[in-house]
Amino acid sequence: METSIETRDLTRRFGDFVAVDRLTLRVERGEVFGFLGANGAGKTTAIRMLCGLLQPSSGSGKVAGCDIQTETDRIRSRIGYMPQKFALYPDFSVEMNLQLYGGLYGLQGDVLRTRMETVGKLLSLEPLLSRRTDSIPWGWQQRLNLACAILHQPEIVFLDEPTASVDPVSRRQFWDIIAELAASGTTIFVTSHYMDEVEYCGRVAILVQGGLAALDSPAGLKKTYGHTSLGDVFLDVVERAQTRGTAA
């Protein structure tokens, strides 16, 4: 299998505080990889390093075949990032936002048009193209966010708590689309602290105080820790890691 993301002892310190502690990961191409952790566990810092926005203090990593310390420009053109908070332009129409992001990734002319059609169809955004972005419902704004992140056919898509405060039906549809993207070979890297989101992932990493505390498939995790729900697994993992931390 082809490797999409690979890190070795990736560490980031802010003064005395260790935000990410010797993180070692390998994510395969086309995998849906869940990145779990409480608030402040280091998820955002890790993602910022993987996206080339933040330099690691030590350790190394490769994303889409590019070094995260030296090839940040190339990484940025090969990944897509969908933020938790809606970050498109509310005064633009849906179509204008798509055109803008396509343009920023260097798409133009027929290529841009074809991609907008394909993505519009995949996410059922076609009837909304001419609407002002702030006039469409939240669930659809999230879809547009995703559309802008995958327009340039990135090798990896980072999703930061993608379905927070989205209704269950929309959430289900959203994950169907994610599955479709992964099936076509796009690697999906999802951060979350919502357990039901994580059930859709192929493998899940649980981050506690910047370090990797557990890594397995949802079924494997449940089996190892002897729980029926991932929520209980998560609490168990966090508790054990913290007791270990205080003991040491």
């Binding site: 498109l88 633009f92 920023l104 260097g106």
Partner: protein, 370 residues
């Protein structure tokens, strides 16, 4: 490089669309200079024109009649009242009938026949010092002129002093406020609007989203600033056009040189806006900081309203770091005196140096903050 230019074009187009799609703000940006020009041109006009004048006349006489009709007939005054001598001349001021009172002596005609014997008094309302001083000069000047021209008086020869006013012989205030408005409006468009536009993107999180794309920080800055250069230039052209068509202000010097100097000023102002956007967290902060750090010193300390030379030491020091001080010297030089680079290279050099320094600091801070 080609890809970089294309990304800048995409970012600039985006910024331009934001401006176009907000017609209310666009309307303000275009109408504000026009409205301000008409305000300064008409309402805030300090020129004396048809000012009310009251004459106190104890005895009607031929000389008094000539004085009255000539004063009333001049464009400066309208004689609204002829009063008998009163014990309290301040009454007309308290009732706000006039700003100036001309008191004639009972023996005006007799006094005029003997050199140096005539005396009259001008009483001026000094509650607004500027208007008071102007009224005083206007009444004195006009009365002297009437005495010389129409009552055949001869001036006492002490010294034959003649004053020639250059560049603005009629002392029209339009020639004075058009350069000042250039300094204020260009600063407002460049510094205020850019600092708000960038802070807005920080506030909504769209700026960090742009950074995940291949767009580099310098490309974001270029894309942000370019549309505002265009907008500020448009306002500059608007001010000069209205100044010429409505107020008859001609650019005596080179328009091309004026445009180049204005671009240098716009560049400096944009850098200030950029710097403020790296410091401010919210649009409101950005707005207040820009007001305090740029608009206020520009209006008060640049020499637009108050001459720099008559400021106390500390304020004069501050005025030397306000970019508008130098821009104003340049614009007045070009528009009124028609001078060029040979006479203006020092203020232009200072302005450019300020712009480059501010730009480097703000770009550095912008990158670090991201």
């Amino acid at each position: 490089m080609n890809a970089s230019l294309r990304r800048i074009a995409v970012a600039a187009r985006k910024e331009f669309l934001h401006i176009i799609r907000d017609p209310q703000s666009l309307f303000i940006v275009i109408m504000l200079p026009v409205v301000m020009m008409f305000l300064y041109g008409y309402a805030l006009n300090a020129d004396i024109h048809n000012a009310e004048l009251v004459i106190e006349q104890p005895v009607p006489s031929p000389a008094a009649r000539v004085l009255e009709s000539r004063l009333d007939g001049s464009p400066f005054f309208a004689v609204t009242q002829i009063l008998p001598p009163s014990s309290d001349p301040t009454q007309v001021f308290r009732a706000r009938h006039t700003r100036a009172l001309l008191r004639l002596p009972p023996d005006l005609d007799a006094g005029l026949r003997r050199p140096g014997a005539a005396s009259m008094q001008v009483v001026v309302d000094g509650s607004d010092p500027n208007v008071g001083a102007q009224m005083r000069a206007a009444v004195e000047g006009a009365t002297q002129k009437i005495l010389l021209d129409h009552l055949n008086m001869k001036p006492p020869k002490i010294l034959d002093q003649r004053t020639v006013v250059l560049y603005n012989p009629q002392q029209r205030s339009a020639l004075f406020f058009v350069p000042g408005l250039m300094a204020i409006i260009l600063l407002m468009i460049s510094a205020l609007l850019t600092s708000i536009a960038i802070t807005k993107e920080k506030e909504t999180g769209t700026l960090s989203q742009l950074l995940i794309t291949p767009l580099r920080p310098r490309e974001i800055i270029a894309g942000k600033l370019l549309p505002y250069v265009a907008l500020a230039s448009l306002d500059g052209i608007l001010i000069l056009t209205v100044g010429y068509l409505v107020f008859g202000v001609r650019v005596a010097g080179s328009v091309t040189f004026l445009a180049l100097c204005s671009l240098a000023y716009i560049f400096t102002a944009l850098s200030i806006g950029l710097l403020i956007s790296t410091l401010a967290k919210r649009q409101l902060h950005a707005m207040m900081m820009t007001q305090l750090a740029t608009m206020l010193p520009t209006v008060m300390l640049s020499g637009f309203i108050f001459p720099v030379s008559s400021m106390p030491m500390v304020l004069r020091g501050i005025s030397h770091i306000v970019p508008a001080t130098y821009y104003l010297q340049i614009v007045r030089g070009i528009i009124l005196k028609g001078v060029g680079l040979h006479e203006l290279w020092i203020p232009l050099l200072v302005l450019c140096a300020q712009g480059i320094l501010l730009f480097m600091i703000s770009v550095f801070k912008f990158r670090v903050k991201l």
